[in-house]
Amino acid sequence: MNTISRIKKGFYFDSVTLMRVGRELSGLPGVSEASVVMASDANKAILDMSKLLLPEIEKASDQDLAIVVRAKDKKTAEEAMAKAEELLNNRKKPNGSACATAPSPRDIASAVEALPGANLALISIAGRYAAREAQRALTAGLNVMLFSDNVSVEAEAALKKEAHRRGLIVMGPDCGTAIINGVPLAFANVVPRGPIGVVGASGTGLQEVTCIIANEGSGISQAIGTGGRDIKDAVGGISFLDAMEALAADPETKVLLLVAKPPQPGVLKKIRALMRKVEKPVVALLLGEGGPPATLEQAAWMALAHAAGQDPGEVAARLEQRDAALREEARQIVAKRKQATGRYLRGLFSGGTFCAEAQVVLHGVLRQIYSNAPLGDSKKLKNAWKPEKNALVDLGEDEFTVGRAHPMIDFTLRNKMLEEQAALPETAVLLLDVVLGYGANPDPVAELAPVIRKAARKVFVVAGMTGTDGDPQNRNQVVEALKAAGAHVKLTNAAASLLAGYIADEMAHKPR
């Protein structure tokens, strides 16, 4: 052991600063004890107790600063002494600002105090705590968007009843998207304001129709999500109906557009009854129920026609023309690639509604359609990890998401499956959805382009793009980059699905 000291004459530091420096020194490796004190009689007595009172400290006065270090060897002690000088010098400099901003509030009640005019709580904490916080938000007079999932259906019904009683709305649980007063909430796109008000019990469905509306040059008044379970009888469509009423009464909203998978009968009856009462055009897409509208795209176009004062009946004819053009495009694509083999379509979707819409679109085009989330005539995949025939896989289903981030954010799993499917000789065409906007992957090109480039050497790749040119990812750049990588890109999921279906059909009938 080696004990050394240093006296600094006429230095003053308050005792607490010195204790902190002393503590930092004592924590250095090899240092057993260290003390940095003013050499007062009281401090000398304390040093004496610890056998640190070297003669030169004994001689020092209470105007002097004493540094003493005991360490395993002389070198370590000298290093600690140098450190002491450094620490003390740093203490002399002004260190940060004395201004502290008030810390974030710890719960909704104090947040409401801190934010005058607060009117909506956006909740994305773990599901087991989410209902309780939603209840507190309602008590504080806030509307609620509940992004969290894993909230019981009982809790959901109770929250929504309470909200209804208070004239508030609960969007969700598991509500991924909404646009309120032009503000994109959670996973949402940048869409101009306009005449169409949307109520959606399907997150990606709501994103898709709002993007189509924006891309056609119109806009939306509001897009209110409800969460998929709202339209089950256990919840009774409380939020869906309240949102419809609100938009019916909203002077900015000229047309209502409803997007959902088919509701349970009790709720459907109520929605239909309310639709008859609304004195504005209402376009209702119940995906999988037939149509018109049968697809998100068709529903959006019909709403656009209403808003523009045109006959929505003409949409069907326009779609027929468009479909014919896609058929021709598919023919040319296939004709250009002599070496292509395979006969089946493999769709890998990050959005469940896109997987459903693709099935609706493809039922008239392809046979033997399989899915892990089958709709209509589709058959259930025996193993979602092993697609067969013409397969449309929803990667947002539980078998894929347990213990993993949602595929809309984390592309790893889908990229791996894309590579696998591209390598199979039976595969003719890969279909995927790419969702832009807030909340989505901020740089989809970086992750997708290499995978597409590799796959496009063996199979056709078709991508449906959901996004607007206002989105933070810069949609046009994303489209161009994916095209350059070899993908055929369409700006709606329906068009992309149809093109992919036609390509698969062309390939299946290609003479071999």
């Binding site: 204790m19 710890r106 503000v183 994109p184 509001q222």
Partner: protein, 467 residues
């Protein structure tokens, strides 16, 4: 705001969870606010349901309790000997800090203080004799808090000790506290021996009569006013009492000179007070005690009226649950230690001085005391942050005690046990640290967080009382 109104108002989002969602809201419709949410402390869902259902009633009870706490006016009205004035004081009773505890479970400093007290009382000639007597069962022990008293650190009060008498003028109730011995080898840190005993005797024979006569001359000294001034002068009146002591000195010195017949005694007393920066602690503590005691026994109130530690357990009492104690093991402070000492030497948290935090001072008012911010991280901003955070668990702001750096905002006052539990944030206490062995004394100082246990138990008990 109803859904209808929402659609025609600027969106103002309160965001709980994924922070990027708030950033987007802020970009499109500022301002938005992020809640620093964390899972709540574990309490039974039944308790939570009851307290939520009875919220209006609790609120009414709390308003009553808070009004009492905010309007209390503690004044130093005199001094006397413990046995003459402390309710229930008797010859074989020794008071200690914190919640109730038996000799077997007492920590080193508490035992050391008791042994020193028995020697001081003449009940034992040596420390060994004192220890045997203390353990014999002949001596009774009780918390200061149950006798309208508070004591710093070990908090030992024996029948012959002089005490200061503080009256809450608004509500008439009294509180008591011994005189502060200063630093070094002192009984309150569990030290004993010749030096300790000599000082205690001097305090009884010189300090006490001189001060008693002087206070009789000045009349009641308004401690509330003095604490308010001390906060403006850089004290938080728990770990820093330099300004408070100076103010008290100014108030008492002329009366001492006037009333003390012996010049030597006057000089000794004035020198003693002048040389002891913590003299005022033994006034700020009973001032808070007198203020908070008036708010006891208000059924349904979730306001904390006592936080204290006996070196083994940390105890909490609520306005709404009578004399019931809620306890959990006291924690060893993560403090700054004097040279030659470390956390391994430290006793778990000890003393009734957390009554200052309970009263909205101490750690809760540390933003007023930039001189000691080294205890809380080194920057003045750290001290502000601690005080800001305490607003999250309190129900009111002091009308009298203000913090200059927060534009004279009142200190966070009246801990609401519901907020502590539901927001999962415990009070911070700005404290001294005793050596775990009897007789050694103070080894450090710093900030310590209260354990959640007593608050969770108090939460459940309040729920049971409202079932």
């Amino acid at each position: 705001m109803s859904l209808q109104e929402l659609l025609h108002s600027p969106l103002r989002v309160v965001n709980l969870g994924i922070e990027s969602f708030k950033d987007t809201c802020e970009a499109f419709s500022p301002p938005a606010i992020q809640v620093d949410w964390r899972p709540p402390a574990e309490v039974s869902p039944e308790s939570e349901a009851i307290l939520s259902k009875r919220a209006a009633r609790i609120e009414r009870a709390n308003q009553k309790a808070l009004e009492i706490i905010l309007s209390g006016t503690p004044k130093l009205v005199g001094l006397d000997i413990a046995r003459n004035v402390i309710p229930g004081m008797r010859e074989n009773l020794i008071l200690h800090s914190g919640p109730p505890i038996t000799w077997e479970r007492m920590s080193g400093p508490t035992r050391g203080g008791i042994m020193a007290g028995l020697v001081y009382e003449g009940r034992a000639a040596t420390i060994e004799e004192a220890e045997a007597l203390a353990a014999s069962g002949e001596i009774e022990y009780a918390p200061c808090h149950e006798h309208a008293t508070v004591g710093p650190m070990a908090g030992i009060v024996t029948p012959s000790m002089p005490v200061m008498i503080i009256q809450n003028e608004t509500y008439g109730n009294l509180a008591y506290c011994t005189l502060n011995e200063g630093l070094g080898k002192v009984l309150r840190y569990g030290a004993f021996g010749e030096e300790v005993n000599t000082r205690l005797k001097w305090m009884e024979n010189t300090l006490y009569p001189v001060l008693k006569a002087a206070v009789a001359r000045t009349g009641p000294i308004d401690l509330k006013n003095m604490i308010a001034q001390a906060l403006h002068m850089g004290d938080e009146v728990h770990n820093r009492n330099r300004a408070g002591t100076s103010l008290f000195y100014r108030a008492i010195a002329p009366a001492i000179v006037e009333t003390c017949e012996s010049k030597a005694d006057a000089v000794a007393v004035l020198t003693f007070i002048n040389g002891n920066d913590h003299f005022f602690l033994n006034l700020s503590m009973p001032a808070c005690k007198a203020t908070l005691d008036a708010a006891r026994n208000i059924k349904g109130s979730s306001i904390v009226v006592a936080m204290c530690r006996n070196g083994t357990d940390f105890g909490v009492q609520l306005a709404g649950t009578g004399n019931e104690w809620f306890t959990a093991p006291a924690e060893v402070p993560d403090a700054l230690y004097f040279a030659g000492f470390s956390k391994a030497d430290a006793n778990p948290d000890i003393g009734d001085s957390a009554i200052t935090e309970t009263g909205g001072l101490g750690g809760f008012a540390i933003a007023a005391a930039p001189a000691i911010v080294q205890f809380v991280g080194g920057h003045a901003a750290d001290a502000l942050r601690y005080t800001y955070e305490m607003y999250e668990i309190t129900a009111a702001e002091s009308r009298m005690y203000q913090i200059p750096a927060l534009d004279f905002r009142g200190t966070p006052t009246g801990i609401d046990v519901r907020k502590v539990v539901e927001r999962n944030r415990v009070p911070v206490i700005d404290t001294g640290v005793a050596h775990k062995k009897a007789g050694v004394g103070q080894v450090g100082a710093g900030i310590v967080s209260a354990p959640m246990g007593p608050f969770a138990k108090a939460y459940d008990a309040l729920a049971r009382s409202l079932q």
